[in-house]
Amino acid sequence: MNGDQDPIIKQVTQGDYKYGFVTELDNDALPKGLNEDIVRRISAKKEEPEWLLEIRLKAFRYWLTMKKPEWAHLKIPPIDYQDIIYYSAPKNNKPTGSFEDVDPELLKTFDKLGIPLDEQKHLSGFAVDAVMDSISVKTTFKESLGELGIIFSSFSDAVREHPDLIKKYMGSVVPYRDNFYAALNSAVFSDGSFVYIPKGVRCPMELSTYFRINAANTGQFERTLIVAEEGAYVSYLEGCTAPMRDENQLHAAIVEIVAHTDAEVKYSTVQNWYPGDKNGLGGIFNFVTKRGICLGDRSKISWTQVETGSAVTWKYPSCILRGESSVGEFYSVAVTNNHQQADTGTKMIHIGKNTRSTIVSKGISAGKGQNSYRGLVRVVKNADNARNYSQCDSLLLGDQCGAHTFPYIEVDNETAVVEHEATTSKIGEDQIFYCNQRGIDTETAIGLIVNGYAREVLNKLPMEFAVEAQKLLQISLEGSVG
């Protein structure tokens, strides 16, 4: 690319993070640090039953014996786990569930983020659970969904109202022993969403949770659990933002999905945590364990993620395909710009016969960003006729960034067909010139081309989200070609 484009690249790659504001709120927070007492106090704050505290303590003790994983293609500065606040909640929020009782400051914050919590004002077809720091602020349309038997509530409410379901499913897909960050989350998790779709019900609206980190020095450890009973269907969306701060903040979440026979769960994420500044100062460390199990025959779990934020992303939304003819999908766009690093991908574990999985990953690296796809496809011995197709593409914008692909394919069944393809490329000069010749300037041309490149994945998002994600991509790096 010629030198003239460099200023454009700079200008565009340095597009500002527009969700970086802080809301001044009175917080009810526990002191910094992590020990059994803190774990007990979190549990007490949430008025949890004894069995849940036991789980937390077991997880905490196990976590103490673990080391953080080092295999990812990431450079992470050491994290002082004693220097983090594990519980912080906006004070003036009365958990009555009624709109009138929500602190107006909070409402303003979510309005500003484009997430009106007033059901009258809301986008039609969406129900929202808004989580700030350690607690859920408001869940909309809870009642009308309840008429269909659908449970959509904060995780804390669900523990109180549906303890049997939580006991049955929590930790069934991601046990606390699963990995370092899962153990940490299981010990200190704060809030999150719980979704239960009863047998045969097709959830009529998109359910979404909006996560916001607000308080300083605070980690966010949410936990989401989605259960779809036989023949149920739900599409669930997750969005995240955080203020601009110079220090790194930790986000370690767990998402568990259970799909019974003929059930289908679509899980979409637009992750836009604060990525840090141009020099790599600050930003969220995003260490997330997301996993779904296709328990029943012909069940389906589909992950779609657009990852544009966070200083470091470590995330592998996975599917355990246990039911016969079950289907797992993973569609991902991950952008790293400036000093961002991402090591993300999926695991598809084929256990049932005739199981199928599809992986489409589009990595985009700009600035000094490092972007790795890491994915495992495993076909176990009795998983006859398993099929997997993986396509991992990387796009490099600039000559300071990196794009890496680390697929792991393990096949133990001769009837499997597993295909993996990966390509790495940059935007062609001829493509840009072609656009220029039609009157489109280079910056817009790159925005067009990048969105075109990611289109296969963006198409999987619900309409409103797709538009948002497209804009986000443009802001994150449009024009950053080298």
């Binding site: 001829d430 220029n436 010749q437 009157g439 300037d441 075109g452 490149y453 289109r455 296969e456």
Partner: protein, 250 residues
Amino acid sequence: MLSIRNLKAAINGREILKGINLEVKEGEVHAIMGPNGSGKSTLASVLAGRDLFTVTGGEVLFEGKNLLDLSPEVRARAGIFLGFQYPVEIPGVSMTNFMRTAINEQRKYRGLPEMNATEFLKLMRDKKALMEIDSALASRSVNEGFSGGEKKKNEIFQMAMLEPRLAILDETDSGLDIDALKTVATGVNRLRRPDNAMIVITHYQRLLDYIVPDFVHVLSGGRIVKSGDKTLAYELEEKGYDWIKEENEE
């Protein structure tokens, strides 16, 4: 409209255009012919602003403005259209989105408001009908998976959409069978107007049976060595390019 004076251009230090002079007026169609490697496509690229080539001398005025000072996209917005010899594939970018962006950029440049979706889609429909273009085209990605003929048709379709003042068609006939050639030529002829102009670059006289030029120029060794009316094309067809070279050497 367009005035090229002693234009010289080089690639990697090698001079390809060695002093081109050409005047194009409104309503005219100029054909530029010449053997392979004579600099025909280079001329088209230089006029469109491809940065692979360095202009080493001369000037180009387009409607009074110094064309060589303008970036490729500004030239395009000012009304220069290049029909590419090898149209570029842009995966994932739909024709609709591509054309809407292009048209709105052009309108912005001309101080016009952006076209709304309804108006735009109507324009697409009208032009598709005019150019006899398959209606599925709009939902496909730019040139991706298009056959050679489809790509060339798509170039002419874009020309119809953008209504350029000056269209430069670079070997639009190459790789086309006779039927496709006729379709493309019919499209081009429909776009001929008293207030626009065209430069048609071709290796063969065949295309000029369908797009009848007002002037024919022969480019050889980076210079226009002969100009005439359409009969020159027939003469070339009959005698071959060696005739020009020989005549030139004498």
